[in-house]
Subunit: 468 residues, 2 copies
């Protein structure tokens, strides 16, 4: 994979057809690829019975994937196995990052469960050994860690620390960002489907749209937008605390962009006294195939980094790491205790994840498979006129659909159909983006070229059948 | 154990010596029983080396228990085992609620780790089976569940839901309450050591002090205080969302009180349009030995219940359950997804916890051991003049120390000394309360009368030696 990741498609289009209000309106990202809970007719009776039980205990609004939901009972490597024995190729789940039920993670967790599981108010060597090893993957300035249980807890804590360290309350995020589910983090997650009133302290900028903006303009445009947000904040007498960004802009539609393009915007944030908080829940732990962390692609040293999802391969664990001077404020003024944060069992899982990333050289294999996948998708784009763009980085890949007639109108219907038809062909992906027209292909990291070939072949076949 | 729990000591004292400002000031509950990170001299070299490594990665302010911190390497049942082989009787940890490394929990987690670990957007029968079983322990009206990963996430979500369901933003909590660590939950946790500015939406009432208030006055006093808080909120044009309370008032100093005394206060909350949110992170899962849930002692049906700590015996899992009509608002207006919430591995742990509570009849044994413990502590109180009060419910017991000279001044120094000397006698407890003078005895539930006898005997001996 080249240093700037692949970016294919028809190039910049300022009149792409997404109305500006769509870029800032409250979006329903959590409802992409959702099962209609009142559409249980025609389902397999076993599945329908489970749907009914689920509806009773969770209420009707809890979201299930797919028009025909999956009842899964087993997982291994890149495979998820249904109750009827069907094996699904998982090209979606980033949480079981080193593969479902990876034997080293299973063994480490089982061993630690039988040995000791307690909290960080007692000494525990394995916790510090892991912390030292994880911190060694960060720039030297980022030297302190706090363990949490989830990415949401990590981002929430980073907001508290940023407010304490800067004295500010204002945050900048992108227009379809999703950073988590606590009350405070929901405020900085425009993609959340919630109708709750949002905080006046949150300022929204357009995501750096690397597809509809000429490559040389992406950085300056993003920087100019951030500068405008800082000015707007100043006018409202709100002091800047920081900018929170996932450097893949995952729920904005997946825009890795050229390494380095974020630097100018971050410089504006720092000049105005704000911090840069890198949300690495999506890009972290080798997902990009280029670097262990997404921010590293941009040559940045963040003030804080929030981690979650892939850290323990599904065992709940998260962390905030940060610069010593920022974390010193936190230690002095906030204090913090997280009961399950840094428990030895979650640490055992996280240690095994680092072991596997290193021993299986996942950075390399992610880079190679990602390249094969994105090249193959580029070939499909030449043959299928509905595909307007393909982009990605490592094993986080986007395929964008527009109406082939006008070449501009986002085509969410086709994206949804592709997701569901691939499911029927035993391949799992999902969709993303403010217009819900972008396939999200984000498999466990041990995904190989062979798996990519199967995905490409099924996608090719079904797109040919979908063609009018 | 009698229905109203034990309440011993010298009875009500309005001039007890705690200045009113202590009852409302920001407290440093998280620093009770803390090791001074700059006092590593004289520690065992292995322990000192771990303290130094910890300080480097966590920063200097992260809190360790005890003047001589413990380096633990193994746990079983009610025992925690140090690196040097010392076996400590655990009379403190409520997270490993059914006992450290309980074989059924270990087996369930190990099996599920090797089978499947994913999220709730796929169907998973074991998740619904657990949800049905857990909901069956609640009043019929409480019929919907949302899984989270931690007690903090649960309380945070309950705040979001209460705001959406009532249209209010005001919350009432007790003066030294601790409900968790997110930005929003920190606001309703006066006990947190943070110096962050607190929200004007939070109104504080004195905890129902069952020791310094005559028994017949506890309920009416608490109700009157809550009524005053509601009136104050009204004057400030803040609409009531709800009252959040842990029915054991754990960090206020542990006041179980007479069953039913909370009802009058909750009636005021409901009359004013607010919800009652029961924080069951501490009293839940059979801790009281009387009922599965703390609110049940008061004959209340909560609008929402937040769960955490003991739910998975240390495996991160939490939940919010609530009345159908409240949770319907949530489903319609908030939506919510929690990546690790309801993952099959955490559910397997939680299922094993319910299995053990039932098969080992822990409610009964907690009740019996709790009674033996509190009676024994009552005997000690007769012989040791520093003990001014003993109270508790099930295996959550408080021993309060005051200056024997004046019989009123809280004696935190003795409480801290007792905690540390018991540690040297290989028994683990901690301290609580706004004046830091209350021993907190809160062992894993399989604690037996024999374990209680050892604790009582060591405590008796060391108090005799401490006597001037």
């Amino acid at each position: 994979m080249t240093a700037d990741c692949f970016r294919l498609g028809q190039g910049p289009k300022s009149a792409y057809g997404i109305a500006p209000e769509i870029m800032t309106a409250k979006r329903k990202i959590l409802e992409l690829n959702a099962f209609d809970m009142d559409a249980a007719d025609g389902l397999d009776p076993g599945v329908a019975a489970l749907v009914a039980r689920r509806k009773r205990v969770f209420g009707p609004a809890s979201m299930l994937f797919y028009a025909r939901p999956l009842n899964l009972v087993r997982g291994e490597d890149v495979w998820l196995i249904g109750a009827d024995g069907t094996r699904y190729l998982d090209a979606y789940n980033n949480v079981a990052s080193v593969g479902h039920c990876h034997p080293r993670v299973v063994a480490a967790v089982s061993r630690q469960m039988a040995t000791l599981n307690t909290h960080t108010r007692y000494l525990s060597e394995i916790v510090y050994t892991y912390a030292e090893r994880l911190l060694a993957t960060f720039p030297r300035e980022v030297s302190n860690i706090v363990f949490t249980c989830t990415g949401s807890e990590s981002v929430d804590l980073s907001l508290r620390i940023a407010r304490a360290a800067t004295g500010g309350t204002g945050f900048i995020v992108t227009s379809n960002a999703y950073h988590g589910n606590t009350l405070a983090v929901n405020d900085i997650s425009p993609a959340s489907a919630s109708t709750e009133p949002r905080s006046p302290n949150v300022f929204i900028v357009p995501a750096p749209d690397t597809y509809r903006t000429a490559s040389k303009d992406v950085g300056p445009t993003f920087a100019a937008d951030v500068k405008k947000a800082i000015a707007a904040m100043k006018r409202k007498k709100i002091r800047l605390a920081g900018l929170v960004a996932d450097s893949l802009f995952s729920s904005d539609g997946i825009y890795p962009g050229k390494p380095g393009f974020m630097a100018e915007a971050i410089a504006h944030v720092r000049k105005a006294g704000g911090l840069f908080i890198a949300d690495e829940v999506q890009p972290g732990f080798a997902r990009t195939g280029e670097t262990m962390w997404g921010f590293a692609r941009h040559g940045l040293v963040p003030d804080m980094v929030a981690m979650g999802k892939p850290m323990g391969n599904g065992v709940p664990i998260g962390a905030v790491v940060g610069r010593e001077e920022v974390m010193a404020t936190f230690g002095r003024d906030i204090r913090y205790f997280n009961t399950f944060g840094g428990n030895p069992v979650s640490i055992a899982a996280a240690t095994a994840v680092l072991d596997v990333i290193e021993s299986d050289q996942l950075l390399d294999s992610v880079s190679r498979t990602g390249q094969a996948l994105i090249e193959g998708l580029g070939e499909l784009a030449k043959r299928h006129s509905g595909i307007s763009g393909v982009r990605g980085c490592g094993l986080f890949t986007a395929v964008e659909f527009v109406d082939p007639e006008d070449g501009t109108t986002p085509d969410a219907a086709t994206a949804t159909q592709v997701v569901n038809e691939l499911r029927d062909r035993r391949i799992l992906i999902s969709a993303s983006g403010p217009a819900e027209n972008v396939l999200k292909i984000r498999p466990p990291l041990p995904f190989t070229a062979e798996h990519a070939t199967r995905l490409l072949s099924e996608l090719d076949d079904l797109l040919a059948r979908l063609a009018p």
